[in-house]
Subunit: 398 residues, 4 copies
Amino acid sequence: MVRNIKVEHLVETPIEKQQIELVERKGIGHPDSIADGLAEAVSRALCNEYISKCGVVLHHNTDETQIVAGRSNPQFGGGEVIQPIYTLLVGRATKEFEGVEIPAEAVALSAARDYVRNTIVDMDLERDMIVDCKLGTGSSDLRDVFNRDRVPVANDTSFGVGHAPFSELEQIVYGSERKLITDLKKKIPGIGTDIKVMGLRDGDDISLTICCGMVGRHIDDMSHYISIKEEMADYVTDLALKHTERNVTTLINTADNIRCGSVFLTVTGTSAEMGDDGSVGRGNRCNGLITPGRPMSMEATSGKNPINHIGKIYNLLSTQMARDIVKAVPDVQDVHIRLLSQIGMPIDQPLVASAHVIPEDGVNFASVRAETESVIDDWLSNVTKITDMVIKGELDTF
Amino acid sequence: MVRNIKVEHLVETPIEKQQIELVERKGIGHPDSIADGLAEAVSRALCNEYISKCGVVLHHNTDETQIVAGRSNPQFGGGEVIQPIYTLLVGRATKEFEGVEIPAEAVALSAARDYVRNTIVDMDLERDMIVDCKLGTGSSDLRDVFNRDRVPVANDTSFGVGHAPFSELEQIVYGSERKLITDLKKKIPGIGTDIKVMGLRDGDDISLTICCGMVGRHIDDMSHYISIKEEMADYVTDLALKHTERNVTTLINTADNIRCGSVFLTVTGTSAEMGDDGSVGRGNRCNGLITPGRPMSMEATSGKNPINHIGKIYNLLSTQMARDIVKAVPDVQDVHIRLLSQIGMPIDQPLVASAHVIPEDGVNFASVRAETESVIDDWLSNVTKITDMVIKGELDTF
Amino acid sequence: MVRNIKVEHLVETPIEKQQIELVERKGIGHPDSIADGLAEAVSRALCNEYISKCGVVLHHNTDETQIVAGRSNPQFGGGEVIQPIYTLLVGRATKEFEGVEIPAEAVALSAARDYVRNTIVDMDLERDMIVDCKLGTGSSDLRDVFNRDRVPVANDTSFGVGHAPFSELEQIVYGSERKLITDLKKKIPGIGTDIKVMGLRDGDDISLTICCGMVGRHIDDMSHYISIKEEMADYVTDLALKHTERNVTTLINTADNIRCGSVFLTVTGTSAEMGDDGSVGRGNRCNGLITPGRPMSMEATSGKNPINHIGKIYNLLSTQMARDIVKAVPDVQDVHIRLLSQIGMPIDQPLVASAHVIPEDGVNFASVRAETESVIDDWLSNVTKITDMVIKGELDTF
Amino acid sequence: MVRNIKVEHLVETPIEKQQIELVERKGIGHPDSIADGLAEAVSRALCNEYISKCGVVLHHNTDETQIVAGRSNPQFGGGEVIQPIYTLLVGRATKEFEGVEIPAEAVALSAARDYVRNTIVDMDLERDMIVDCKLGTGSSDLRDVFNRDRVPVANDTSFGVGHAPFSELEQIVYGSERKLITDLKKKIPGIGTDIKVMGLRDGDDISLTICCGMVGRHIDDMSHYISIKEEMADYVTDLALKHTERNVTTLINTADNIRCGSVFLTVTGTSAEMGDDGSVGRGNRCNGLITPGRPMSMEATSGKNPINHIGKIYNLLSTQMARDIVKAVPDVQDVHIRLLSQIGMPIDQPLVASAHVIPEDGVNFASVRAETESVIDDWLSNVTKITDMVIKGELDTF
């Protein structure tokens, strides 16, 4: 069946030429990101449990983790959590299949605890966090979707959105958080995992406002704290300048009041310990960013099943499509993909697959259209590849 | 102090001229909307309690309600909830102020139950829903923000986004859900409150795909169900045609399989009774819509305190600004507002207030810019008006 | 099959001749009693639901309600609950039987809320209490116990204990709480339902120490409070003197410090609103009393299923046996019954049914033994009568 | 002030001469015992935290742990928990004292997890159990009780009960469970910690009915299971015969149906994994036993604060008194102690301290009375020794 693919020439000021650009990334230790990460870790663990016990992935959606902030008493050189963070894993899962019982909640609990242990490395799971779990059973009529050889049908009428390529600011914002955690934190353990990077580009001036919960027990005193902030700012600015020739300013924890001794100190490296609740789908889109100047979907990607949940698959797919179009099709400045499903129809047959392309000036749009369509069509023909990549953990969801 | 207001001429294909437009609205009984509504009802009740007990609104954020779906056994002419929906109200609230104890959790509980009783009218609160509550105390240093005569300072570095005017499709999608509930449901009680409207415009063809959980006890049998669907479709199409001259098709519950007797029947009028969890900030933006072709913010608006929480105030404010610009400034086809705060700075002094304007062809942009700036500046001067409107319940948040 | 009934002549100082006697009753509004009452109300509602849907009572045990105290700010003429009481209904229930789904948790929730509304009459369920519910499913092999025509088999190796008649002090302690609630509270609404009566008899001196949570909004001021206490003390003393010729002293709320204004005032009439948690099986035995000078069982009676749960049936049965022995067998001063079950054996065939009898002096014990055995044997032959009485609500469990 | 100590000569058939004697012990892995153990572990950890942070023990009561059973799929050589056990720690604790914040809930969580790890050794805390926590704050007027040099005053009008010496059956029942865990389990890891021993003595015939949840992954198959049962029975019978010359029969897991393959197998060694809920104060009294033929108190001992909570102190104290009387006073066959407090009075001044003594025949009761009084008076003079022993963990509470 021919797919309904619509490629439009979008007349729009390209992002790099707009005066104001805003980009945000919530780091892995931000309460919303913790929720996302838990939801996805639980879904992935369930996928593997289902495959191992039943040979196929069964129906589940665990995209609703709720984190209720605790209370803490952070101190230089120490500090302690006063009231543990409360985490409620929420969702649906198939718990029985052809006579086999699947320990969905035990698997979820274990996966969640592993995830926190490996990711929020400064948290002491024995006293800083309660992990609770309420997984209902899925509605039975959805179950058989999963047990077929053909392309699954969409679970909902919903859409996914993606774009490429990243602008300079997008690259910088994304990369800053990633490198602070994967590189600089190894050298400076006082850097917490709850890093929020807010990037503003005003013409050719980029300012990066970074909010980072520092880990008290790795920081001796205020002067040590200040020196870490300086080191972070320099590190991030240097990093940014590899991606841009614009002016870059980096500010760390601007709300600090050094004189009053009021700084952003934590025990566990995340503000979830003290007043910041978190939940799934409130933070980064599946490309890792929040970009109000770009098309976005409200659908949470994390925690949904990767078989037939459009809210997950079409967000991931449209992002992959956009990236491949930019790679494969010459003269595409910018491409936005929107995929709209129709409940009950095969997921390789969206109601519409829409591409908005901003081509380079003077390009023959007909050829751009044809090649773009081709990339989209190829991906739709191979839509279940997204499922496989998710299960293997090859695609980030936030 | 002069405000940093940037008005740009946006070169962009206006929305009505784009080939593909997608607009979605989750109705008031959708699980995500219930969560939004509860969060906002709790915040409003707390505002009033604080004012009544302490004379001022005190720090709180109750923007994290989690709804865990139940299980139900819907039937024509009856049906029952098997496992109650579990609702967890989450957030922070000031519980003590100058020696006065504020019954934050009791107020929250009572407000939440009232909200459900009045809004999700087919739910029996005595057996269909559990309302639980975990409100932490706010961090003390935030508290004094609220007790001052001057403009509050921003609680975070964050942004809000708004646009105007609504496109035809936006008007139609928004209006359909509203009228089905406020008008047609009075005549046809079998219409549930969980109505999701997905609008797709492909050139001049508008299709409205509506998903509505029908209320079994008000529907006699399958033929009655079918006749209600037909009546709804006609009603919505007629409504739409008042806003457009394009072709309109309305589809209701397309996943129904009449022959198998598998239709979207519920006991309570919401899918939260059976498998659909919900949480705050995952559904409609504060203008009531999800619009992937428009700038959007990820910040939840519902449940945040209306004093200093940028995630609420700047979303509401930018939407009001955009609407007033369209009213007050001639020749504006479309305007997008983005407001970026800086933590610790007065909320009437955003780091940047950015307007993207698509003017009518051939207009003098200098004059548009000046008038647009003026509307923005006025609103910023009167930013606390947003707070008042929220407390009085004059602004919708989802 | 002959039953193993052992009737012994117990040589023991009769209770009325012992120097010191201690008897306690926790009133219906005591947190432990609320837990008991909820557990039993839920079980009874489930019994009726099972009978109505399936024709037989199915497996369940709901004997573990946990009440987590709230916080309150009681005042003369008003007051309010600050933090709601949290109540968790816990247990097991059959949720599916021969294709019929039973809404166990919805039934439990509804029954619990009804019970509180009718019993803890000064509580505002909309804001003073959260009712939550976690009912697991029962183990399947227990289920078929319930679906047979013959006598059910014991669910456990366990025992029940009962005695009769009540001593003077036992009558007085029991009657005081009952009459205060059923009679005097009608006249004096300021009397709360949380009444604990501690009776001490030291020789011929009886002192009744009563602790009663008064309801602030029905009491004008301290002098009103004092006058209520006086009226209660007189009322109870008068009541007691109808049962005894001993000296009676009644003390109400002895921990009050009138001068400091520190008295036992509440908003809801129960200390569960402020600091006193409660759970099932921690208060009164099924005869309504705590009697350290009498044999007692640790088994909670409330909330257990009345079909095969020995912890319930044998406690109720032994109490009924003891009462009937006293009525039917002449010259019995005192009788204690202990029934020990054996898991998997029919409940009319206890491993041992032991009666300790204190006969009047000079009585022929052989005849007492024979008549006592006969009463016991009769009751065992009609053991399922206990089940019927429980379902009809004819037997108190605390 | 002279203490009100009443020593009576009790005329009663001594326990060893009664025809029927019933004694029960719930082992450390029984759900009720797990609840008791958690409650006490949490209280002890809080005591130590308070002492370390504030120099004194502050007000708390954590005597209300609720265990909600999970679901499991036990197998020989393996098995797994399907749904984790849910454990809710409940109580009150002082969270702030003279400006110092005490991390009561974090301490409780950590202590609870440590306790389970060390005691329920076959449980995998990462996936088999959820530990949740709801600790309210104590009422402030109780707090100052704890901060004084003089004897604390009673928190309630309540009583404690104790007796000594243990009968033969009591020794046997208590010792069986203890030795199975501390000795035989080392050799046979398939023995679970959830061991319930029900002892019945009918004249000179003792039968011990033992219910033990075996640990599947340490047991190869049914014949291995059977051989373990045989080894346990022989072990217990041998043990018993060291304490008695009566006939002893030991039965293990009598409800097993070997032919159907239905035996008492578990994954974690406790029935909490599958259908048996548990809560504090429902199992063993503080002497480790349930003895319906002896005076008992309903007051839970575990988890209460050891400073002023009569429900704990007087139960422990009366048991210590009874044991010392038996040791120190010649010719006492049996002694029962009951201590009744009066709220607000110093705990070394009970309203009455009552001893029921069964002396050897022909003894001069006057001298027994005097010596008994003396032991009681001494203990009351040193009542805070109980507090110290509790904090050091020298007294068992269940």
